[in-house]
Structure formats: C-alpha cells, structure tokens
C-alpha cells in the first residue's frame, strides 16, 4: 500500500518534470520554415504565367475584348455580367503566390548577394503590380504585403504604382548589371539566368508601361513615346528574346489556354476573332485557330446570342498558342516592334512607323512558322500600307494578333480604342473598362476605392 502510493508519487513527479519536453511537439514536421530562392523562383514564374497572366482576370478581359465566347445563354461574362467573387482567384494568385513570394525571395537574395535573383524579383514584381493596376486601378502595394503589421492595407493611387513600376525595373536592371552570387540556371524558366536577356526584357517592359500612360492625366503622348523609344534602344532584339514559359504538356501541366478551351469550360472563339482572321486572309489562321470538329469550318460564336450551339461546331484556340505544350508569353519581341511603331507614329508620323509595323508582321510570321514569303507578301499587300487614317488601328489590330488572347489587348483598346469594338448583343452594360475589386478585398479590407466600383469605371490612365 505504502509502496504503491510512493510509486504513484514518483511517477507523478517524473511526469511533472518531463512535462515541458513532452509538450514541445508543435514544430511542423511536414513543411520547411525556410527554402532558398532557387526553390521559390520556379513556383513564382509558373504561377505568374499560369494563374495571373492567363488567369481569370485575363480570361474575363478576353471576353470583354470579344476574343472568346461562352457557349452559354446570356447573361454571362461575355455580356458583361461579372461578380466580385469571380475575381478572387486572380487577386489571390497575384498577391499571395506572386507578390508575397517575390518579396520573400528578394529579401533573401539581397541578404545573400544573389543579385540575379534580386533582379528577377524586381522585374517580376514590376510586371505583377503593373498587371494588377492595369486591371483594377488603385491597388495595395506600398502598405500591403506586411501581414505582421496590418491586415487592412490602404491602396496606392495608380499614378504612384506606375512610378514604382519604373523604379523597380531600373533596380532590376542595376541588379542584373551587377550580376553576383548564385546564378539561377534552370530554376529560371524564362531565361535560365541570362542577364542580357533579362535586361532587354526589363527595357521592353519599361517601354510598354511608358506607353500605357499615353493619355494619362498630366502626361503627354509625345513624352511617353519618347521615353518608350529610348527604353527600346536597349529592348528585345529578336524573337528569341521573348519572355515566356514553356510547358511540357504532360497531364496536369498543360498550357493554361489549352485548358481554357477544354469542353468543360465551354469557352470557344468569338465570331469577331474568327471572322477578322478569315476576312484578312491571314496566313497565320491555321496556327492561331482550329477548324470546328463538326464541320471542319472556321466558325466563331456571336457573343450574347440566345440558345446554345454544339461545342464542336465552333473554332477553338489553335495549335500555336493553345496546345498542351504551347509556350505562354509575358511580353514578346513583336510587341516591342509595334511599341516602336506606335511611338514613332506619335512622334514622327506614319512614315517612321511603317517599317516597324512591317517588321513586326514579318517577325510574327517567322515566329509562328509561316515560312512562305509569298504568303507574307500577299498578306502585307492585301492589308495595304498604313496611312495617316488607319495607322493606329492597323498597328493595334496587328498587336492583337501578336499578343493573341493576351490581356495587353484590353490595355491597348482602353488607350487607343483599337481594335474597334461595339457592345455585344444582350449586353447588361457598356463595354467594361476595368475589373471589379474581388469579394475577398471587399469583405476583408474595405477601402474607399471600393465605393461605386463598376466594370464601366475608368482607371486613372484611361482618362476620357
């Protein structure tokens, strides 16, 4: 009896003393608390391309720009019906998967002196916030991505964000020029750590974002065109400079646009996309779009039309941009040429613009694999030379082809009004000019910018 009590007391005493250690089991054994830059970069690049550049906001923009259509009865996104919840995904990928991880990667790279990683982080951060502000207008950046301090970051004005974008690109260029520390090699899906190419891409992006402000308040088209042209002097030199992600196309790892055109999404091409390629006798048509399975014909759906047709009666994205293993582009050399064309048009007129316009088309034909010179020549001939009346519209129409399905088309249309669009039938509003702030922000971070938010509102640089 006495013995057993002393045993109990002993075991209780033992229990007390080992208690603290016994309870120290709250360290997560499943996931690391730190990983190096070479593990973050691939995931950031992939998500930026797959879930932001070709994500839902871009798909919505492709609907608004009448590039694609839904094989569903209206109202739907094609007729401008959108809910804030529909933008949650893109916003989340933008801020959590890209921007926060870019911040963490840059912090680590700067500490270790891995300047190439740091440069990539700066350039991709600039790219991501530019995407975000172009879609939404005022967005959180300088106060955001600081969760230990605030759960409700205030928004920056778009004008401030645009200043930051150029600063970040300059910082990135400087980092690449310094080029120290561990090179990323194959962990950089875009350029395998080639700093020369990164610098050219950064300058081309600078030009793109200068041109975005051609009609922004307190900015002049001429000044922006001048800035763009000087940036492009160091910009992309050839098709091999394209900033793009190559997909291997195995199950689950297919190009996003390939997935977007799977039957389950009920996305097909619009009549506008198909008809414009057909009407212009564009030799790229066979690579850009498919013939319908059912009738082996080029057919797009009239957006907003009643009833639902057979999915297989319509054309889809073609082999070049929408195969399982097609690369997906962030910015490309053809765009650089057309930025030159537009800037030259603004500064020096149509004569100066024409050679760049022509080069862009030729480069795109080469890029897509239209090798027949006669086909190229006859296309250029049938399109005719650009002149003072049609130059801007032709440049933008070609830009919509070289940036096939890209959200850059939405930016260009808002800036220039080209390619010209009219409201679709059964539209529930005018043609949208921005994305709605996502439900996630409306609910968890109410900000003054949210009041009166509408698809038809204009962002700062989209001044009337």
């Amino acid at each position: 009896m006495k013995k057993s009590i002393s045993y109990i007391l002993l075991s209780a005493a033992l229990m007390f003393s080992s208690c603290e250690k016994f309870l120290d089991v709250n360290e997560n054994p499943n996931e690391p608390s730190l990983v190096q830059e070479s593990l973050l970069l691939p995931a950031i690049e992939y998500n930026l391309v797959h879930n932001v550049v070709a994500g839902w906001a871009s798909i919505n923009a492709a609907h608004f720009m009448q590039l694609i259509a839904l094989n569903q009865a209206p109202p739907n996104v094609g007729t401008y019906l959108l809910n804030p919840a529909d933008l949650n995904d893109t916003w989340r990928y933008t801020y959590t998967d890209c921007l926060e991880n870019l911040r963490l990667m840059k912090k680590q790279a700067d500490e270790k002196g891995n300047t190439i990683y740091s440069g990539i982080a700066s350039v991709l951060t600039a790219y991501t916030i530019a995407y975000t502000t172009d879609m939404w207008g005022d967005v959180p950046y300088s106060q955001g991505l600081n969760a230990t301090e605030t759960f409700t970051p205030a928004y920056d004005s778009q004008e401030a964000v645009y200043t930051t974008i150029q600063t970040l690109l300059d910082e990135g260029i400087a980092s690449f020029q310094a080029a120290g520390g561990t090179p990323p090699g194959n962990r950089d899906f875009f350029y395998q750590g080639n700093t020369a190419q990164w610098i050219r891409a950064a300058y081309t992006l600078k030009a793109r974002y200068y041109m975005h402000l051609t009609k922004a308040p307190n900015h002049t088209a001429a000044a922006q065109a001048q800035l763009a042209l000087s940036a492009l002097e160091n910009g992309m030199q050839s098709n091999s400079d394209d900033l793009r992600l190559v997909y291997d196309g195995t199950a689950g790892k297919e190009n996003r646009w390939y997935r977007n055109f799977l039957p389950v999404e009920t996305i097909i091409l619009s009549s506008k996309t198909v008809d414009s390629l057909v009407n212009r006798n564009d030799p790229r048509i066979a690579q850009l779009i498919t013939r319908s399975k059912q009738n082996n014909a080029y057919l797009g759906r009239v957006i907003g039309s009643a009833g639902i047709g057979s999915l297989e009666s319509y054309s889809l994205g073609g082999s070049f941009y929408a195969s399982a293993n097609s690369p997906l582009y962030l910015i490309n050399y053809r765009e650089a040429l057309l930025l030159k064309a537009e800037a030259s048009l603004i500064l020096s007129g149509v004569e100066a613009a024409a050679p760049f316009y022509r080069q862009a088309i030729e480069a795109d034909m080469a890029h897509i694999g239209v090798s027949s010179d006669t086909a190229i020549a006859s296309y250029l001939a049938s399109r005719g030379n650009i002149n003072g009346d049609n130059a801007l519209s032709y440049i933008m129409e070609e830009k919509a082809v070289v940036n096939f399905l890209s959200s850059e088309i939405f930016n260009d249309w808002r800036r220039t009004g080209y390619p010209a669009l009219s409201r679709v039938q059964n539209a529930v509003s005018d043609i949208p000019r921005k994305m709605l702030y996502p439900l996630n922000e409306l609910t968890n971070n109410p900000q003054p910018q949210h009041s009166g938010d509408a698809l038809t509102k204009r962002v700062w640089w989209d001044a009337q």
Binding site: L39, L40, A251, N444
Partner: protein, 999 residues
C-alpha cells in the same frame, strides 16, 4: 497511522459480524408486472456488501441473516426493500420505472453519480432506445431525443458522417462538435474517408450500437469541466454493456433486414430537353444541351413516336438493403463478469454500387483480483469497408446528371459504340459511367482497447487508473477515370491514414461521511492525452493507358505527400463535493491544462466551475405529497479550450501546386499566416435547472436555462490577400448561446396489461455573434458568414434588389435586377422538438417518434442551378408573366412580359431565390415489437424471443423545402458548407425487420 488503525478496526468488526450472524439460505425469483422473469437484478443485504443477482430465469439464491433487509435494484425498475424473516421461498414483483430517482448515471471521467445529487444537466438515452431506431450510426439515433442537441446528417450515402452540436454553435471556424467518450476514454470522431468530393464517414459510426448500454449527454460546461478543453462543446458519454455478477451465460442473437427507398427531390416532369420550347434530342452532337426548356413531353412525338418520358431518378436509384446480424453473450461469476459481441452490417446504398460494411467485435472482461482491486479489460475491433461515389458540385460527380437530366433522354447505354461517353450535355459525366469510373474505396481498421483498474485501499478511498487508446488506420483509394466531357485526365489517389490517440487518467477519490448528515468527497486526478496522426498520399494523374488497372503505376505523373501531426495535453484536476442530507449538494471543479498547440508562454491555463443542487421536495414532502421529487440547481463555469489544430503558430513553405514542373521543384510560402500569440478560448456558462416528478413519478418535467458566452474564439480567419496571405488563426471574436431546454415524461396509463408513455423535448437556442476580429462586422466561414449581431451561419450572396419601399426592382427587360451581395438567410433553426409515444399492451409494444425543426434556412443549390436548366418543380409553370415590382429606372410598376425561361434563368443569378426555409416535421421512427409469451418460448431452446418491425422517415413534412431531406448537409459534418444542399445522395425511407433471440 491513524488510517491503518481504522482499517484494522473495521476488518476486526467485520469478522466479528461474520462469526456472530446466523444465516439462512433464501431461494427467490424476480418477475415483472407481466410475470416474466427479470434477469440481472441485484439482491443485496442492506448494510453489507453481501449480494447476488438473478440469473436468466430471474432466480437467485442468497444467504441472509434473519431480520435483514433485502435491497432489490434493477435498471429500469423501481427498487424495493423487503424484510427477511426466514422465508424459504420468495417471489418479488418489480415495477417498471422510467424515472428512477436513485438512478445512477455515468458522469465525467466515468464517475458514477446518483442523478439526484447531480448539480448540472444531463440526459440519458438507453441502449434499447438506440437500437430501436435501427440507425447504423448511433449518433443519428439521438436525433430529436435529447434536448439542447442538434444532429445533422450529411448525406444518404451509406456510412455518411453526422454532425452533433450541443447547446449551439460555439466556435466560428473551429470544431463545433461534442466530445465523444466511450467508457471513460475519449475517442476520435473526425470525418475521414472523404477522398474525393462530398461528405466522409464520421468515425463514430465504428461503434456498433448493439454494444451500447446507454448514452449520457453532458450538456453544460459545469458537467464537462472535468474533461477539459474538448469538452467545452459538450460530451457524449457512451457506456458499453457489462455482464452481471453470478449470471449464467446468456446469448443473444438478433438479425435485421432493412429496405431503403430513396426520397427524391421535387423536379418538373412535364417538359422535354430543349430550348424555348424547341426539342433537342440530347443525342446528336449539335443537339446536346443542359437546358430542359423544351416542349411538353406528353404531346411530343419524333417520327410519329412519343419520346421517352422516364424520371431519371426512378431509373437510377435502387432499393437499398441492409443486413445486420449480432451475436452476443454475457455472464459472470462471483468474481468476474464478461460481455462479448460480434456484429456484421452489410449495407447496399440506394445509389447503385455504393455500400458500407462493418464487422464489429467487442469483448469486455472484469475481474475482482482482490477484494479491493478490480481490473477491467475491454477491446473493440472494427473493420469497415465502403464504396462511395462523390457528391456535390465536382463536375465528375454522378448526381448532377441524375437530378438535372431531362426525362426525354435515355442515359443508357452509358458509352457509345466508339467507347466515348453518351451524354445529353457537355461538361458533365454520364451518371452510369461515373458510377463505374469515379469512386472512392475506403477501408478502416480500428482498435479501441481500454484497461481500468480500481483500487479501494480503504472504504473511503478509491484510486482508478484508466488507460485507453483509439487506434485506426484508414486506406482510401479514389479513382477518377479520364473523362472527355469533363476534360479531365484522370486521378488515382491512394491515401493511407494512421491515427493513434492515447489517454491516461489517474484518479483518486476520497469520500467521507461526517456525522449523519454530511458527506464530503474530494477527487483529484491527472490526465495525459496525446494524438498522432499520419497521412501518406500518392496521387497519380494522367495516363490510364491500361484499362481497369487501378494501380498508381498506370498513371503519368505521381506526387507523394507525407503529413503527420502530433498533439499533446497534460492536465491536473480536482473536484470537491459536499452533500447535506442528500438534499443540498455543492460541487466545485478546477482544472489546470497544458496544451502543446500554443507557444510556451500561452501553454498553461486554469479554469473551473461551481455548482449546487437543492432537492426542495425533501422540505415539503409532507405538505405536497403529489410532488415526488423537486430539485433546483444552478451552476457557473468557465472552461478553457484549445480548439485549434497543431502547427498554427508558425508560417511554413509548401510545395507549389503542379510542382515539380518541367522537372524542377518549387515552393511557395503557405497561405496560412502563423500566429505565435495564440491562446486558449474560453466558454463561460451559467445554467439554472429545475427537475420535478409528480404523482409518483408519473409525470416528470425538467427545465434548463443556460447562458453561454464564448470569448477569444480561436478562429481561422480569411485575410485580405493584399496582406500576402489567405488565412490565419487568431483569437478573434465572441458569441453567445442562450437557450432553454425542456423535457417532459408522462405515463398517462400504467396498468398490468397496458401502458402508455410519452416523452416530449424542446430546445430553443438564441445564438448571436457579438464580436469579430478588429471590429469587423462580418467574416466568411466556408459557404456562410458570421455577422456581428446575427446568429452564426448567414447566407450572404446576391439577392433581389429592392427600393426603399421594399418593392422588387425590375430592369427594362422585365426581369428582376440582380442585387448586391446581402444577407439572404441564416442556417440557425428557431427551435427543435421531439415527441415520442410508446404503447405497451401485454407483449406488444408500439412506439412512434416525431421530431421537428422550426426554421433554419437551406441554400438549395440544386434548385439554383436547376432554375437555369429548367428542372425544379416550380419551373413547370412556364407561362409568360409580368414580374411584380417596379422598374429600376422609372420607378413605375413593371409591365414588361417575360417568358418563364427568361425569368427562371435570371433567378439562377439571384441566390436569394434558392434560399428555402428548412422547417420540417418528421415521423422519424415507428417501431412495433412483439415479445413472444413465455409459455411459447418455454417450449423452445430460447428464453426470450421478439420480432420488431420499424419504419424510418415514413413521413416528412417540409413545406418550403423542395430537395430530398431538409436535414442534409451536403458537404459533410464540418463548418465549411453548413446549410448547403447540393447534389447529395438522397436520404431514405426505410423499413426494417428484426428478430431477436435470447438463449
């Protein structure tokens, strides 16, 4: 020293008595009012420990001194005291008693207490009442029976999980379900096996209802404070069956057979597939559509032939069948007793191919090793298998194209000649193809061993040590073949879950009578609880080059993941109690807890309770003889709770989705922001209760009021993604539950041949969210929201748009304007009630049980999608109409005519149109039992025999709900999708037949 001296004295006194008394052997028999023998009755000589119990013939033998008093007690009967004056033979007739005042109930930590002395509210349900419901999951058997408790089943698929919430939702995002304890040991009741979309299996369904002696529900936190953290949400105490002392082996065999008929949702049966009255045949490639806005079926002919007109649900669902066989034996000697049971349940679902099978073996052996030392060992082994089909809105799930398929389309054959699926629309699978190609196989193996040692060194001290474990492994394999219509490349997901949970309690209880009137007791104890949860998963996608080869090697890309979680908690507790004349009881509890889920600084927390009971009927028993019993009790308690999973304190990096990509690994910071400042949440509760019995216990009325405050709620909040993160755990917010519970038992008729009992219970709980993080006024939890000032579980989604006068706004096209997201409903019911009637006439017993829920909104997602397709019952009215309301631009009454199709397709975007009031009355159970009379049974090898016919869900009245069953939570028992009804397996109307034989 003093103690030893006392013991010595006691022992010598006892031996003195033993020598001196003259004993006589008495042979007796105990029968009930129907003169049937009652086995297992305890016969004890008052004031001694000498006793025996009746055998299966109700007979007993006891040596008793003349002049002694025999105390006869049996569960369910009124106890008696009979003076013994040397009679040689004695027949004792027991009166049944549903409300025995001396009823002993099992409370926290397995401690038995007289109900009379309890200072808090509990409610017991007997094992017989549980098996009567014929529910394979004993949790469902409690539905409507226990006040303050809400049980919601998730779907009609065999083995599906159920959610049990006691005294209202208490956590915003954490676990809201009660703690389940079997014979003093907490067991895991997680929902597992949901590999693929839809609900999973709750692990409570592993417990075979046939081994349950009783279930006692501890509702308030004063009752459960001794259990610590997880008990803040209430406790369900399951006590398993025992053998009896000196009982001859008694075998029981029961066999059951059930037929289940699916209860269909309401759909329109008038119109064919098509658009705007034009028929689409769903066969030709350009004739495929999800729309069922075609012409009338009854007059539609194609090529002179009438088109098919078959309800796709009739064709798809089958009659479910359940077989259950149970064999048990119990018995005992003077020193030991045992109970053993084996049962096999084999259930075929109403969805073809689905099934659930359960082998359950249970053994319990208790032995008195020394007079003051008893050891009990028990072992529960359960093997389950289930074949399930995904539910909900995953595009792969089969029910999409059953509930929304046109009557005019023939789903068979599931595949065309070229091997492709035969579909009436794109983007969804053929339901029959999905059955064969999209499924989840779950295999569970579970052990629940418990060892209990009871050591009574002196008559006033008991030391109990209890060791228990809950160990299971679950393998699940989800198979989804590549589907062209849905655009998937196929998934094979092989998951292996190993779970271990250990619980150790060391309890010492001292009990001392001070003088004649006062009894004091002190309980101290220590608890160590730990869990280890390991999960391995192999997921293969793509490939599937070899047909019907369900191996991961048949896939193109494989990802393997490993995840394990450990959790530990150490506690010390004490419970002093003082009792005066069995009239006034005061009890206190205190507990110190250390939980591994918090950082060191916040790891330790204390809490406790104070409660008192006053049996006032003792004071007025002479003046008010009609009052058999009256007790008033009050308690105040505070319970800490570590309602958060392990590893919430730090932020980690996770492998990025779709990585390795191009052969390169990739990581991203996890979307969950760690919070090292987390601390325990707290529940504070005031409970006041009144228990009364009138007219010799013919009427019993119990009434409770409670006020529970939940503060510092451990909440998994959604962050604005602009912070860089998706979610974080924080101590945020508070809410309260205030409610009343009433329980009325009446025995209007009680005679030798006929008796009638009825029980009515009622629960009304007012739940309010009072504060959220950072002054926010709303937070999203899964599919619903919590708004400050509202009950938990608000549906917040686009509704109608109204002007200031409350008139619906209509746009220029004549259709309702899609309003902004707004509060459009709430899941919390107004009240719950249950009514049970039981009639016994001689050997025949008839009981029927109704339960009812008033209010509680449901988002009928099937109807919302259906509005677009033209399938819900309301879309049968397709006339052109002028929607009532005013034009949004002019403010004038709307005069524009729209078609039925345009109207309903607009409602698809107005979620408010799919909110339905979940009020229901259910005839949940009707049971008719015939006990074969003894005179027949005697001629057989059996001692008792009975047959029972039971009907479940025979009648459901749900005036506002158009789905299958308003009780269903389509996405399982978690918080994520409360009140959401969407593509879930229908519940069933069941008919059960049982034969039970005792020999």
């Amino acid at each position: 020293m003093r103690i030893n001296y006392l013991i010595l004295l006691l022992i010598s006194l006892l031996s003195f008595f033993r020598v001196q008394s003259q004993t006589t052997s008495l042979k007796g028999k105990v029968v009930d009012l129907a003169a049937s023998p009652v086995p297992g009755v305890s016969i004890r000589i008052k004031g001694t420990s000498t006793g025996t119990s009746t055998n299966s013939e109700g007979a007993f033998t006891i040596n008793a001194p003349s002049g002694a008093t025999l105390v006869i007690t049996a569960l369910g009967y009124q106890s008696q005291e009979i003076p013994f004056n040397g009679q040689g033979q004695l027949t004792i007739q027991l009166e049944e008693d549903n409300q025995t005042l001396n009823e002993v109930v099992v409370t926290a930590l397995g401690i038995k207490r007289e109900k009379r002395q309890l200072t808090y509210s509990t409610q017991e349900v007997s094992g017989a009442d549980i098996t009567k419901t014929k529910e394979p999951n004993a949790l469902n058997a409690l539905t409507g029976k226990v006040s303050g408790v809400q049980i919601t089943s998730s779907s009609g698929q065999p083995g599906s999980s159920s959610r049990i919430v006691i005294r209202g939702t208490s956590s915003l995002s954490g676990n809201n379900e009660a703690l389940i304890v079997v014979d003093g040991v907490p067991i895991n009741n997680a929902q597992t096996g949901n590999n693929g979309n839809g609900s999973g299996i709750s692990r409570f369904s592993d417990i075979d209802p046939a081994i349950i002696e009783s279930i006692n529900v501890l509702k308030g936190s004063a009752a459960s404070a001794l259990y610590g953290s997880s008990a803040a949400r209430g406790v369900v105490i399951v006590t398993t069956k025992n053998g009896n002392k000196d009982q001859k082996p008694s075998f029981n065999f029961s066999t059951q057979f059930s037929l289940d008929k699916a209860i269909y949702p309401e759909v329109q049966s008038t119109y064919a597939q098509g658009d705007r009255g034009v028929y689409w045949n769903g066969v030709d490639n350009d004739q495929k559509t999800s729309l069922v806005w075609g012409p009338r079926l009854d007059t539609l002919t194609v090529g002179g032939q009438p088109v098919r007109n078959v309800n796709p649900m009739d064709a798809f669902f089958q009659t479910g069948k359940t077989y259950t066989n149970t064999l048990s034996v119990q018995g005992g000697t003077d020193k030991s007793n045992y109970f053993m049971s084996y049962s096999y349940l084999d259930q075929e679902g109403t969805i073809p191919t689905t099934n659930y099978k359960r082998h359950a073996a249970f053994a319990k052996f208790s032995n008195k090793i020394y007079d003051n030392f008893t050891a009990t060992f028990q072992f529960n082994y359960v093997a389950t298998t289930a074949h399930r089909t995904p539910e909900g809105y995953g595009l792969e799930a089969p029910l999409w194209t059953v509930y929304t398929a046109p009557f005019s389309w023939n789903p068979l054959p599931a595949t065309n000649e070229d091997g492709t699926q035969q579909v009436f629309r794109y983007s969804r699978n053929n339901p029959y193809w999905a059955l064969d190609n999209v499924y989840n196989d779950v295999r569970g193996n579970r052990f629940i061993p418990v060892a209990t040692f009871n050591y009574t060194p002196t008559d006033w001290l008991t030391i109990t040590e209890r060791l228990g474990a809950d160990i299971y492994s679950e393998q699940s394999k989800y198979h989804e073949a590549p589907s062209i219509p849905v655009g998937t490349t196929g998934i094979l997901r092989d998951r292996n879950n190993n779970y271990r949970q250990f619980n150790h309690d060391l309890i010492a209880e001292a009990r001392k009578q001070l003088g004649d009137d006062v009894e004091v007791s002190m309980l101290v104890g220590n608890n160590v609880f730990s869990t280890y949860d390991q999960q391995y998963q192999l997921e293969g996608t793509g490939g599937f080059t070899v047909e019907d080869f369900d191996n991961i090697s048949n896939t193109e890309n494989q990802i393997s993941t490993e995840n394990y979680r450990r959790f530990r908690r150490v506690s010390f507790y004490a419970q002093p109690t003082i009792d005066y004349k069995k009239m006034l009881t005061l009890s206190f509890t205190g507990r110190m807890e250390q939980s591994s889920v918090f950082a060191k600084e916040n790891r330790t927390y204390f809490y406790g309770s104070a409660s008192g009971g006053f049996v006032f009927s003792e004071l007025i028993k002479d003046k008010a003889p009609w009052l058999s019993f009256g007790k008033l009790r009050a308690s105040y308690s505070k319970v800490g709770n570590d309602n958060v999973s392990a590893y919430a304190t730090a932020t980690v990096y996770s492998t990025a989705t779709n990585f390795p990509f191009n052969g390169v690994p990739g990581f991203l910071i996890s979307g969950d922001l760690g919070n090292s400042n987390l601390k325990n949440e707290t529940t504070t509760e005031l409970e006041i209760g009144l228990e009364t019995q009138f007219l010799k216990n013919r009427i019993g009325l119990e009434f409770n009021y409670f006020d529970r405050d939940h503060t510092d709620l451990l909440s998994y909040i959604t962050l604005a993604n602009s912070t860089g993160y998706r979610n974080s755990y924080i101590n945020a917010g508070s809410m309260y539950n205030r409610g009343i519970e009433a329980l009325l038992n009446v025995a209007p008729v009680k005679s030798e041949n006929f008796s009638w009992d009825f029980t009515f219970n009622f629960t009304k709980i007012k739940n309010r969210v009072t504060e959220l993080y950072g002054g926010a006024d709303q937070v999203q939890i899964g599919q619903t929201f919590a708004f400050v000032g509202d009950p938990y579980g608000t549906f917040y989604a686009p509704g109608y748009s109204y002007n200031n006068e409350g008139q619906k706004l209509i746009d220029d096209t004549g259709l309702p304007v899609i309003g902004p997201s707004q509060k459009i409903g709430n899941i919390q019911p107004d009240w719950l009630a249950g009514l049970n009637n039981s009639f016994t006439y001689k050997n025949l017993n008839l009981s029927f049980f109704f339960d009812m829920r008033k209010g509680g909104d449901i988002m009928n997602s099937d109807d919302r999608y259906g509005f677009f397709y033209g399938t819900p019952k309301v879309t049968e009215n397709r006339e052109d109409r002028v929607v009532e309301g005013v034009n949004v631009n002019t403010g004038q009454p709307n005069t524009v005519t729209v078609s039925g199709q345009d109207y309903y397709q607009r409602l698809n975007a107005i979620y408010e149109a799919a909110i339905q009031d979940g009020t229901y009355i259910k005839l949940r159970n009707v049971s008719l039992t015939y006990n074969f009379p003894q005179k027949f049974v005697k001629k057989t090898p059996f001692q008792r025999a009975s047959v029972t016919a039971t009907g479940r869900n025979l009648w459901i009245y749900a005036p506002h709900f158009t789905g299958s069953d308003p009780e269903v939570n389509s996405y399982g028992s978690g918080n994520d999708a409360l009140g959401l009804y969407g593509n879930s397996a229908p519940t069933s109307r069941s008919y059960n037949f049982t034969l039970s034989l005792t020999f």
